[in-house]
């Protein structure tokens, strides 16, 4: 509107943009400098003690194992081809099976947790404020309890001479010895029990926000309760379902303790394979390759999570 030259009398105070942080004017760069000062130490720590070691693992996964179990730094893709079933004597299904089994266990655990966790989430959402806190705390307590203790609790409970097997036997249910433990039933029970809180918490957070008037309206319009639930309620809790499934799937695929203690030899997952290579077999390069595979499974799950929940508020971690 006005001639720009008419303001030459005004001093050009700032050529470079300065920022204000909570009332404090900062020259350019000062803001970043302070951020680096605050965030730097912790981020450096995580880098040194996690990212660098992970880089070592990735590097090692391309190395070879010497005859005495030492590492020979010669580049090879052999570890990965072993992972996909190329053994010394042709196709060897052991390793691909472990990979598939781990992913399968992850999915199965997530699905079972969803089924089992649903009533709990709805139940808690229907409670009064005070009881909600109590119920949520009750969900979190097992999660805060040592996994080893819970796992061996299941061991005690499911063992052939344990309380459950004895009672089932006296009730006339024919059950072979070791039908429950060690093996798949014990592993899956413990898995679901272990990861249930990861499912219940995000699921509950979603159920809590459900607009029930929609389902009531659907019922008013003549929908059967089940249909109303399916079309009016379920879509609303989908974010919680997805978040819960990812939160269960991710750690379940990498589980090591539960299959180790409850699975016997039959149920080896990625975690157990890694442990075996770094422990007994002393084949660190191959163990690293399996670890990288586990890492990739995790990244895939995480990517799925962020792409599905894009734009929504992150579901709080327990």
């Amino acid at each position: 509107m006005a001639d720009p030259t008419s303001h030459t009398s005004l001093k050009r105070r700032r050529r470079i943009r300065r920022t204000v942080h909570f009332g404090e004017p900062m020259p350019p760069g000062a803001h970043t400098f302070r951020a680096a000062w605050l965030c730097g130490p912790a981020l450096a720590w995580v880098t040194v003690f996690l990212l660098v070691p992970l880089a070592f693992v990735i590097a090692l996964s391309f190395a070879q194992r010497g005859d005495a179990g030492e590492v020979v730094w010669r580049f090879t893709l052999e570890n990965y081809s072993r992972l996909f079933g190329n053994g010394a004597l042709g196709f060897d299904p052991v390793q691909p099976l472990i990979l598939a089994r781990s992913i399968g266990v992850g999915f199965a655990t997530a699905l079972l947790c969803l089924l089992v966790g649903m009533p709990v989430a709805f139940f808690i959402a229907g409670l009064t404020r005070r009881w909600k806190t109590v119920a949520l705390t009750l969900v979190i307590i097992p999660f805060g309890t040592n996994l080893l203790i819970r796992t061996y609790g299941w061991q005690t409970l499911l063992s052939p001479e344990g309380w459950l097997a004895q009672n089932l036997a006296s009730a006339g249910v024919p059950l072979a010895d070791y039908a429950l433990y060690p093996g798949w039933p014990a592993v899956m029970l413990a898995m679901v029990c272990d990861y249930l809180p990861f499912m219940i918490l995000p699921l509950y957070a979603s159920v809590e926000k459900v607009d029930w008037s929609l389902s009531e309206a659907a019922e008013d319009l003549g929908a059967a309760p089940l249909r109303a639930f399916w079309h009016a309620v379920l879509p609303q809790i989908r974010p919680g379902m997805i978040a819960g499934c990812v939160l269960v799937f991710l750690p379940a695929t990498g589980q090591f303790v539960i299959p180790d203690l409850l699975g016997g030899a039959k149920v080896a997952l990625l975690g157990n394979a890694v442990q075996q290579q770094f422990g007994g077999s002393r084949d660190w390069p191959f163990g690293s390759a399996i670890a990288v595979a586990a890492l990739l499974v995790m990244l895939a799950g995480l990517w799925l999570h962020t792409s599905v929940t894009k734009g929504r508020r992150e579901v709080a971690l327990p």
Partner: protein
């Protein structure tokens, strides 16, 4: 326990003290005798005060860009000491940005700013003699009401007796004494508003900045607090800069208003000036209702201009400010609905023949929609009860438009 604030508010401390003490016995009932004894020596006519700038805030061509948007596109305005000044405009017009720049919570890209005659841009927020009442109130959730109010005084490292005394008198002034021990989450919206106000004025700022302070409240409470704010301002004599998008609020409270739009000040003036002599279409429409139409310059004699409009030939009597506008070919004209008369009017009015299209009775007044030729006019008649107009849709009517009340507009 408290770290010293180096030279905190040093340019202002003296004058603030003086102002505080000068008003003390009047505004703060619980002042001590010792303080009031010094009063006579420190009348407001003190030379120190007189030497002080008569302007509380001076903005010189302030600009501020956010990405591609000009939040402020060169704003220059002066706020006089002790006045109730309002920045009025629709959301996104830059009024809050200007307020934040004055408070020191943002910096302009260019331009100058003085507060109380002192260059303010180099000063961080905590050294500026201004306090803000935030739109969200921003009360500290971990502190009680009285601790919230005492916060500013604690930061100035005043002694605790002094803090308690001033906190108490401000709480009495704003009628929140019973809430002293509560936490902000236990307060209603109106109560929070009072606490936020008390927390700001207890520091005796040169300028109090209010960012839509009543925006979150319901209508009844808003009306009530409008009055209170106004009384408080007159009583304390603090300069208020008030940001709002509510034109009624601005009109009823302010000494002067700056109407802002798209980062510019459209017009600055008293509420009467803005209503009677709006300079731009935007102001005419934003403040009150207005009939707007285009016109063509025909001729002028003295300060009366003849224009060709969709309503027909209209005579417009110009105020001094509008004269050079009249030389342009295209004109923009406006008239307030209540200045048009359907009941005769006065001698010298423009007389037009129209047709009543719609009648809306609204208690104190009646609104008419009248067509003249093809143009439409909104007309408001006061139902004074002295005579019934008795017009119905379809009736022909003589419309009187006083030449004095037509204004020429820019843009």
């Amino acid at each position: 326990m408290w770290l010293p604030i180096k030279g905190a508010r040093s340019p202002f401390l003296n004058s603030q003290r003086v102002r505080l003490l000068a008003r003390w016995p009047h505004d703060f009932a619980s002042s001590s005798p010792a303080v009031s004894a010094t009063k006579s020596a420190l009348q407001p006519s003190d030379p120190k005060l007189a030497a002080h700038s008569a302007l509380a805030v001076e903005c010189q061509h302030l600009t501020r860009r956010f990405g591609k948007i000009d939040a402020l596109a060169g704003v220059s305005l002066n706020v006089r000491r002790g006045e109730f000044f309002t920045l009025l405009g629709p959301s996104g017009c830059g009024k809050t940005t200007l307020l934040r720049i004055i408070a020191g919570l943002d910096l302009p890209d260019s331009g100058g700013l003085r507060i109380g005659g002192v260059e303010a841009l180099p000063l961080p927020a905590w050294r500026r003699p201004v306090n803000t009442v935030f739109q969200s109130y921003a009360l500290f959730p971990h502190l009680s009401v009285s601790e919230n109010i005492a916060f500013g005084l604690r930061m100035q490292r005043l002694d605790s007796h002094h803090i308690v005394r001033r906190t108490t008198s401000v709480m009495e002034l704003t009628q929140i004494m019973p809430l002293a021990g509560r936490h902000p989450n236990e307060l209603s919206g109106g109560q929070k508003q009072r606490v936020a106000l008390a927390r700001a004025i207890v520091n005796e700022p040169e300028v109090l900045l209010l960012d839509e302070p009543l925006g979150a409240l319901d209508l009844k409470l808003r009306k009530e607090l409008q009055l209170e704010l106004q009384h408080l301002q007159k009583r304390l004599g603090i300069t208020f800069i008030h940001v709002t998008h509510d034109q009624d609020e601005a009109m009823s409270m302010s000494d002067r208003i700056a109407v802002m739009s798209a980062g510019r000040v459209e017009q600055l003036g008293t509420p009467e000036e803005l209503y009677e002599q709006p300079k731009t279409r935007f102001v005419a429409q934003f403040i009150g209702a207005c009939n707007l139409f285009d016109g063509k310059f025909v001729s002028h004699t003295g300060n009366t201009v003849e224009t060709e409009t969709p309503l027909g030939l209209l005579r417009v009597e110009l105020s001094a400010a509008g004269i050079d506008l009249a030389e342009q070919g295209q004109l923009s004209l406006g008239i307030r609905p209540e200045r048009i008369s359907l009941t005769g009017g006065e001698a010298g009015d423009n007389r037009l023949l129209g047709r009543v299209e719609e009648v809306i009775f609204n208690g104190a007044e009646t609104h008419y929609r009248v067509t003249v030729d093809k143009a439409e006019l909104r007309v408001t008649e006061l139902n004074s009860g002295r005579r019934a107009i008795g017009l119905f849709p379809g009736d022909s009517v003589e419309v009187s438009v006083p030449p004095r009340n037509i204004f020429l507009l820019e843009g």
